[in-house]
Structure formats: structure tokens, C-alpha cells
């Protein structure tokens, strides 16, 4: 390779990671509950990067057994990458396990963390702490007219996503607002990724690999038989994901 070529480019990119909000430091209880969650969609969690949020740990839980926590999540196929929040003591423990200490983003966007509870059972308590109102009026919607192919991701930041071309299996649609699909749909669809609970998914034929609103998700195996291939909407009703024919 010629020497005048740059060996790399350094950029600041933003990602959204699944975040485990610890509500207790009982590793066994977490393990059990997480195991059930992973069993529902093993593919979704496999090799998924994972962040531990310590901000909701009760005061009494001064110590967290990070070696156990990291070992347990790795054992379930995930890749823990860092922690957020917590006391200096807890952060020191995390650092010893080579977890990154991530900045607290809540200062800039109060919605982001407060409204994105961990997936599954552990989030029962978390939901009580959620704030009631959703974000201000969404930005302009994004319209996609070319096929979204396997491996491609489309993200509509701040607003809705409207797709007029086929979405292949292995492709991913994400939006802060709602997502509308007017063509064959076989990929994954994640609406309200920053916690907008009013976000919905509308599609003409339910064939998505996965649908999710604010992180509450359902995989294709779990769709009601009668709705597969039908024109449906997906929304949150009392914290549960509902699929309803249109």
C-alpha cells in the first residue's frame, strides 16, 4: 500500500446501543431475568453491544460485581462495552473490567435516557419512573424511494420515515417518529428509537423480521398468525406492543 494513503480516518459517530438499566445488584436475579429475555430473540442479542446504566441503582447497592456481570452477559452472547452513571467506586470497578465510562447524555436530551427502559421484565420498575410527555413536534420526515437492501440501515432522525420501495430481509429501518412502508417489507422496523411512545409502524403487508416501538419489540415468530401478510399498524398500548389490522 502506498505510503501517501491515510491509514485511517477518525470521526465522531453516534450509535444507539441496548442499555441495561440496573435496578438491583443481585446478579443471579438479573441473570435469570435476562436469560428469559434473550431466549425470546436469541438472534437479536447475539454479539449485541451492551451498556450498563447505573443511575437507577438503589442507594443501598453501593457495590456492583462487574466481573460477574460482564461474564454473565458475555455468556449470553452479548458484548458489554461500557457503563453510564454510578458512583466513583462503581465506575472504578467497571474500569477494572475494561468497560468504558460513558458520558451522561441526559444533560442534552432528557428524553433519551429517562424514556428508554431496559427491554423486558427488568423494566417494570423503570417504567414507573418514566416521564409522561413525549418529545416536541418531530422534524421533517424522510422519504425513501429506492429499495433498502440487506445490510443497509436507514434512520430518520427526529421525524417520520416513509418508505416507498421494498425493504429486504436483513435491512433495518429506524426513526425517532413513526415509520410507514408502502412496499413489500421483510426487514426490521424500529420506530420511536429515542423513546417517543406515540410512534407507530404502518405497513401494507406484515412480513418484517422484527417490529419495535421504543425498544419494546416483537419478532416475526410471535406475530399473530392471522395478521401475517396483512396491512397493519403497530403501536404501544399500556406499555405493550399491539399489532392491529388496518
Amino acid at each position: 500500500m502506498p505510503s501517501d494513503q491515510k491509514p485511517f480516518e477518525l470521526k465522531a459517530d453516534s450509535f444507539s446501543f441496548p442499555t441495561l438499566y440496573l435496578l438491583s445488584n443481585d446478579i443471579d436475579a438479573i441473570n435469570e431475568s435476562l436469560e428469559r429475555q434473550v431466549a425470546k430473540a436469541p438472534g437479536f442479542f447475539l454479539h449485541a453491544p451492551l451498556v450498563f446504566d447505573l443511575s437507577r441503582l438503589p442507594q443501598a447497592c453501593t457495590e456492583v460485581d462487574f466481573p460477574m456481570l460482564v461474564g454473565m452477559t458475555r455468556g449470553q452472547g452479548m458484548t458489554p462495552i461500557g457503563v453510564r452513571g454510578g458512583t466513583p467506586l462503581q465506575q472504578e470497578g467497571a474500569r477494572l473490567m475494561e468497560l468504558a465510562i460513558l458520558g451522561d447524555s441526559r444533560g442534552e436530551n432528557p428524553k433519551r435516557t429517562a424514556k428508554k427502559p431496559a427491554r423486558g421484565d427488568a423494566s417494570e420498575e423503570a417504567r414507573q419512573q418514566q416521564r409522561g410527555e413525549t418529545a416536541a413536534a418531530p422534524a421533517e420526515s424522510k422519504i425513501i424511494t429506492r429499495p433498502v437492501r440487506s445490510g443497509q440501515k436507514v434512520y430518520a432522525a427526529g421525524g417520520d420515515l416513509i418508505v416507498l420501495a421494498p425493504v429486504s430481509s436483513g435491512a433495518e429501518l429506524m426513526a425517532d417518529g413513526s415509520i410507514h412502508i408502502y412496499a413489500p417489507l421483510r426487514g426490521r422496523v424500529l420506530a420511536g428509537v429515542k423513546g417517543n411512545e406515540k410512534a407507530r409502524i404502518f405497513c401494507q403487508n406484515l412480513g418484517a423480521e422484527l417490529v419495535s416501538v421504543t425498544g419494546r419489540y416483537m419478532i416475526s415468530e410471535d406475530y399473530p398468525e392471522s395478521l401475517i401478510g396483512k396491512s397493519v399498524q403497530v403501536y404501544l398500548s399500556e406499555d405493550h406492543l399491539k399489532i392491529e389490522s388496518l
Partner: protein, 269 residues
Amino acid sequence: MARTIVITSGKGGVGKTTTAAAVGMGLALRGNRTVVIDFDVGLRNLDLIMGCERRVVYDFVNVINGEARLNQALIRDKRCEDLYILPASQTKEKEALTKEGVGQIIHELSEHYDYIVCDSPAGIEHGAYMAMYYADDAVVVTNPEVSSVRDSDRMLGILSSKSKRAENDEEPVREFLLLTRYNPARVEAGEMLSVGDVQEILALDLLGVIPESTAVLNASNSGIPVVLDQNSEAGQAYADVVGRYLGEDLPHRFLEVQKKGLFDRLFGG
């Protein structure tokens, strides 16, 4: 100004090189000055399929590194004077292909040729990126089975985001579907995806359907692009593909099960 066509797939063994050889020959037979470039550095095959393996002196990487001039590396086909082959290097690493080096060669070739056919390696690694980066048109070679279809889909995604045209926000690469190893009998038996199934998933213009045929293997083994075997269905289908690519409106053939006699079963293509 030449048009650059990439023959790509994602998955290996679906018939990219066979297609590159057949399309290159087909275009040249119609009087277009055509060059076929093998991008599969380290696993070169195009020279074998084109029957010029004994005439390779310099290769693509030699030219990029300035060790040979382009004219020294180009091999003129013995059967068709408008067809040239630029072989890949068998001894170098794929990383020897640099974006600037490939760009320079494509630019130089485009002044003297009508069509530049780029035979992409399998996978979505560096070599495949280099093969598709400068493409104006893409022929996505797909077998009628699910893993090949998914890989093609992935490759189409890369084409629409990582090609030079996509990066510069120019008119997108024209994409065509070429279905190869199509066996109507197995489709009828439900063992193979049909043309309709594949088109529904990929949502792409169908450039052609090449029937599964022993003629393809025979042609490869003897170094004769199958399009020259006009007695075979595969050869005729490839000739149609070239015609359609050039804008002719031809019906798709060989999609139905042919009733064959015993003689055809034994010796037919």
C-alpha cells in the same frame, strides 16, 4: 467514452466469470471494442475461461505498480479482434488494487474502448469494492436459491451506497438481474426459486435467465466463452442477454420444462 459494467454477486460460484467472459465476447462479436478485467487477484480464473492462460505475461497489478504498460498486459483474443483481456495477478494480495490505480487504468481504457467488463471476486471484501467502484452498470449474477438471493441483495445495497456514482451523488448505477443455473424442472418440483420469486425479492430488471447446462462446464473446461456455442441453450441465452443489455426487446427463453427425447437427455445441453 466507455461504459463500465461490473459482473458481481456477493456469493461465489454462481457464474460471475462465465458471465463476464460470455458478455465480453458477446459485446465484442457485435463490433464493440471490449476489454474484460479480472479483479480476482490471487484467484484468477478469467484467463482460463477465456482460453488465454498461456499468453499471460504481465497482469493488472503490474500495470498499477508501473512495472508494465497497459498495452503490454492486455491480451487480444484470438477469436475476436475487438476483445481484450486484462488478467489478474495470481501472486499478489488483493490490497495491491488501489482506488487510484484502478481509476487510472479504467480512465485510460475508456479512451480506447466501448465497454469495460469488470469480473468481480466473490465476497464483499476489497477486491469486490474495487471491481464495482467505477461501474456505470451492474449485472448481479444470482442463482435461484435463498442464500444467493440474499447475498445479491446485500451487494445491491453496497452498489447503491459505496460506488463512485453514489459517493458523488451522480445518477445511480444501473442494476440488472441475471439468473444463472436455472433449472425449470426443479422449479416446477418446488426445489428451486422461480424467476418470479427472485424478482419479487430483489425488485430488479431481469436481464436474462441462463438455463443450467452442461455446455457451460464444457465451455469453461475448454476455454471457450459459452456464448460462442450457439447450439446450446446457455449460449443462446447469453446472446440474448447481450442483446437486451444493448437495448433490444427480446422475450425470455428457456423458462419452461423442455420435453426431451432420450438422445437429448444423454447428449443435449
